[in-house]
């Protein structure tokens, strides 16, 4: 065991400066496990989704219509994120997807910065927001956002959520954690926004610090779903749990991808179903709005399981 440790140091010194860092990580995984260190969990994650205008649009990586997502990992953390651009900007000639796309891409870049703190995903959102203002090309629009970070050191997930996107954690067939929807009023979620100059007063703009933050420990085999409101407004919770509990403890990414695909497909099918009482319709009725059927919207599904 001792020589194994020493040889691992030699190997790591040789490999440290080369491109084989992935190999190194796998090697240290094996070695550290055999040396009895604490197990470090990681995400096996997949993505699927449909833009609202699926039949007529082209696929663009990282976006589904006005929704956007990212997933990345560092040696210490795994990060997932989704953002839903507010569609109302279209009538002002602004592309709503630009804002959410920029937000997610900048979050991804920030994760790889030196000062990334896995325990404060809110910082990701606020710095990403500040970066928006430092762009030469002016970016206007607004979007909701949800960022989820797994800190490998202590097997804890830290989340930050603004608006009506969200996440759900399923363990042993039950939902153990989920995010709360933040809305000002019906169909108007909390949103990060950069209005055009002169329109500050007319536009809803929420601070990144108004995000809901949650943190909780996770166990191996937990299923985590991060999605935009296209999923949560169309799939009832019971159906969601039914689907998600199938993949508990699954480490095969192909199986996971199949589940994610079916989730997205179900959401899309239900959204165009005119008679189905979707959660959106139920919510609308609670607010004295007579609505039936699903809500056609962009659908983004980021599905992950925790493994060691």
């Amino acid at each position: 065991m001792h020589s194994l440790g020493r040889s691992s140091k030699l190997i790591s010194r040789r490999l440290l400066c080369s491109r084989f860092s992935a190999l190194l990580e796998a090697a240290t995984h094996v070695i550290s496990n055999s040396a009895g260190h604490k197990p470090r969990p990681y995400f096996i994650s997949v993505v699927c989704g449909f833009p609202k205008d699926f039949e007529t649009s082209n696929y663009k990586p990282g976006k589904y219509g006005e929704d956007s997502w990212f997933k990345t990992s560092t040696p210490n953390a795994d990060v997932l994120g989704v953002a839903d651009g507010v569609g109302g900007w279209r009538i002002y000639g602004v592309d709503p997807g630009e804002f959410s796309s920029f937000l997610m891409k900048t979050c991804e870049r920030l994760v790889h910065c030196v000062d990334f703190n896995p325990q404060r995903p809110v910082n990701l959102l606020s710095f990403s927001y500040c970066e928006l203002l430092e762009q030469e090309k002016p970016i206007i629009g607004s979007s909701t956002a949800c960022v989820l970070v797994l800190d490998r050191e202590n097997s804890t997930v830290y989340t930050a959520n603004i608006g009506d996107s969200g996440f759900v954690v399923v363990r042993k067939g039950r939902i153990v954690h989920k995010s709360e929807e933040q809305q000002h009023y019906f169909n108007t979620p909390f949103q990060l926004s950069v209005p055009p100059p002169g329109c500050h007063h007319r536009v809803l703009s929420d601070s990144p610090h108004s995000a809901n933050t949650l943190s909780f420990p996770v166990q191996v085999g937990d299923v985590i779903l991060v999605a935009t409101d296209g999923v949560f407004d169309n799939i009832p919770e019971t159906l969601l749990v039914e689907i998600l509990k199938e993949v508990e403890g699954v480490t095969d990414p192909v199986k996971l991808q199949m589940t994610a695909n079916s989730l997205a497909a179900i959401a899309r099918a239900l959204s165009f179903d005119k008679d189905f009482m979707s959660p959106f319709a139920i919510n609308a009725r609670r607010n004295n709005i007579y609505a039936t059927g699903g809500k056609p919207d962009d659908i983004t599904v980021v599905l992950a399981t925790v493994a060691v």
């Binding site: 080369s18 663009k60 891409k105 500040c130």
Partner: protein
């Protein structure tokens, strides 16, 4: 075939000219073998022999055939960047790691961009005159380094490496930079200059840029180093060897020669005797020999076909009057001046005359500047007027702050121009001394002088009362001190407060966006400065507040008191919704305006552009980058009414097409910048 080998190490630092970036990596260069006879093959031992220039076979220090490629790991230092400190857009850290946008071409925020471009700043009213311009010339100077340029390539002019022997060596220099016109197609470029082969492993790369001939900002995505890995176990031998080398070639030869003079008894007496009696005879015999040989030569000349009387003149350089010699030497750069002083006593006397040292520019010699140099210069420069020590002392602590302080104390009282941009040897007592001793200062430039954590206390600068130019770009000083300095210097003509914001202000700025009243008082920082300027510095000609956040329309309004303003840069300021009448008021009062930069002032409207067109007849440079919602007619209006316009920056503006820009550029003879970045940047 350039077979430079690079050894892997952790960091990278880049330095750039107006910009520099330092990248750490240990670079080991395989040298040529000139008649090298190595008698030992043992890797722990080496013997060097050879006729000229001893070279060492460094190859044996490398791991055989293990080539690696590495990208820059971290940035040690830079002299300017376009983005603000905590941002990841257009900042220096973007040059580390793999290239993110290459081979795409365009203006991407994921790259490293610098503050200025082209020759436009030389044409502005605030242009600087180089101190001792004859110093800035080409430096004589021969695996690979690849620089990924994604926008407007062609700015790199020198590549330096910092060796283990603690010296900087220039690996490549663009010798034709000043003579040949630049043509590089507008495409992303992976630039691999041919590097000079050196024998030393190095740990740091520095890039120097000169953007004079560039059309627009240049942006760099990554720096790649490739080569062989250096075996650090043998480093000590190499270091010792080069330590010995540094002592000088004669000493080295002596050491190698194992020379021991054989002295007879009482040699001391004999020496004295010789010096007292025989030396004069010796010299006269020598000069006789010399005269004879000259006569011999002249006789030969006389014998050759002549066109008339040949004047045999014995007048040479050493017969010139002293003043003529001074005039001739005043054209020499500093290095040549020192060299010429080593020729003879007479030339030494001329070359050390204080009149030749009234202006000193040590910026081109940043890699050689040391404490010894400073003390030597202190002895000669008794009437020092202008001093430029920019870039000296960076990452290599060869100038001690105490020595600099002594230098200033001795020679600082006659200083009128002082430039200490990007220096790393300044500490609190240096600044104190500056403030106390140099009260005749007319120009003070302290660009990029705030290391983090900030350790400089600038309060003694409040003593300076004669300032005409103050440059604090990227340097943060306490606002009280700044206000006091503004009050004390009514003759101030040029002021640069670009990027004048502390780190924490970045997050506070975020909070002020949500108009939390509790924090508003911090937000009016620059407005205070503007008020002071309007009250005390009415002679101001140029003001640069680029990215000095927290300037509001109110500040703009009060600045209209400075009627002499010719140049103003409000880029990335004035973030509020609309400027109201402040711009109109300002333009009405400041009619001499030649340069107006309003990049990313998003609140500009058609009306504001109307004012610009109607109220600025003398306008030469106008920057409207990133301003949305302006109609095409306004641009045409400006182009028509501002007859002297030379530069118009319309990047990221809407409502204009490429053919519009081309047409306007031809019709009005104005350099118009525009670029369209694809909407979905990755």
């Amino acid at each position: 075939m350039s077979q430079s080998s690079t050894t892997s190490s952790e960091d990278g630092s880049k330095r750039a000219n107006s910009e520099s970036v330092a990248v750490d990596s240990v670079i080991d260069f395989k040298g040529k073998h000139f008649g090298l006879e190595s008698t030992s093959e043992d890797s722990d031992d080496y013997l060097v022999s050879g006729s000229e220039g001893t070279m060492i076979d460094v190859e044996r220090f490398c791991h055989a055939d293990y080539r690696i490629e590495q990208y820059a790991h971290s940035v040690l230092d830079f002299s300017s960047q376009y983005g603000i400190d905590l941002s990841i857009s257009y900042t220096a850290p973007n040059i580390t790691g793999r290239p993110s946008k290459y081979p795409e071409y365009g203006d991407f925020p994921q790259t490293f961009a610098m503050r200025t471009y082209g020759a436009w700043w030389e044409r502005a009213p605030s242009r600087l005159k180089e101190i001792q311009p004859q110093n800035v010339s080409e430096i004589p100077a021969e695996d690979f380094i690849a620089i990924f340029e994604t926008y407007n390539p062609g700015a790199v002019i020198r590549v330096w490496a910092y060796t283990i022997a603690k010296t900087w060596i220039c690996l490549w220099e663009d010798k034709e930079f000043y003579t040949k016109p630049l043509y590089i197609p507008s495409r992303a470029r992976r630039f691999t200059p041919p590097l000079k082969r050196i024998q030393l492993p190095t740990k740091t790369i520095r890039l120097e840029f000169n953007h004079q001939r560039l059309h627009y900002y240049t942006e760099i995505d990554a720096v790649l180093l490739s080569g062989k890995k250096f075996n650090t176990r043998n480093m000590q031998h190499l270091l010792d060897y080069y330590e010995r080398q540094r002592k000088g070639s004669i000493l080295c030869k002596l050491q190698n020669m194992k020379f021991r003079p054989i002295c007879r008894d009482n040699y001391q007496n004999r020496l004295q005797h010789f010096l007292m009696h025989d030396l004069d005879k010796f010299i006269s015999v020598l000069s006789d020999v010399q005269i004879q040989s000259i006569q011999h030569q002249q006789q030969q000349q006389v014998q050759s076909p002549s066109t008339g009387e040949i004047k045999i003149s014995k007048i040479g350089l050493k017969n010139m009057p002293f003043e003529i010699m001074l005039k001739i030497f005043s054209y020499l750069d500093l290095k040549s001046l020192f060299r010429v002083g080593a020729v003879s006593r007479f030339l030494y006397d001329v070359s050390t005359h204080p009149l030749l040292y009234s202006e000193l520019n040590l910026k081109p010699y940043w890699h050689l500047a040391s404490t010894e140099l400073l003390s030597t210069l202190a002895k000669r420069a008794t009437i020092l007027k202008k001093l430029d020590m920019s870039w000296c002392g960076c990452t290599v602590q060869t100038i001690s702050p105490t020595e600099f302080k002594k230098f200033i104390q001795q020679r600082g009282d006659s200083l009128t121009h002082l430039r200490l941009n990007s220096t790393k040897f300044l500490n609190a007592s240096c600044i104190d001394t500056l403030g106390i001793v140099c009260d005749n200062l007319k120009e003070l430039s302290l660009r990029n002088c705030s290391p983090s954590p900030p350790l400089l206390n600038f309060s003694c600068l409040a003593n300076l009362k004669n300032l005409e130019r103050l440059d604090l770009f990227q340097t943060v000083i306490e606002s009280d001190l700044l206000l006091t300095m503004l009050e004390n210097n009514p003759k101030l003509k040029h002021l640069n407060l670009g990027k004048h914001n502390k780190e924490y202000e970045f997050t506070l700025y975020l909070i002020t966006l949500y108009a939390l009243p509790a924090f508003c008082s911090v937000a009016v920082n620059m407005d205070d400065v503007a008020q002071h300027i309007a009250k005390y510095n009415k002679q101001l000609i140029s003001l640069d507040m680029w990215k000095a956040h927290f300037l509001s329309a109110q500040g703009l309004l009060v600045l209209s008191n400075c009627h002499n303003l010719e140049e103003i840069d409000f880029g990335w300021c004035l973030r509020e919704a609309s400027l109201g009448d402040s711009l109109r008021e300002f333009l009405t009062q400041c009619t001499k305006l030649k340069k107006l930069f309003l990049a990313a002032v998003r609140g500009l409207t058609d009306r504001d552009l109307e004012y610009i067109a109607n109220l600025c007849p003398n306008l030469e440079q106008l920057d409207l980058m990133g301003v949305l919602g302006i109609s095409k007619e306004r641009y045409i209006d400006i182009l028509q009414k501002c007859a002297k316009l030379q530069l118009l920056d319309l990047c990221f503006c809407d409502n204009i097409m490429d053919y519009d820009v081309a047409l306007w550029s031809r019709t009005f003879k104005v350099d118009i910048k525009s670029c369209q970045v694809p909407n979905d940047f990755r």
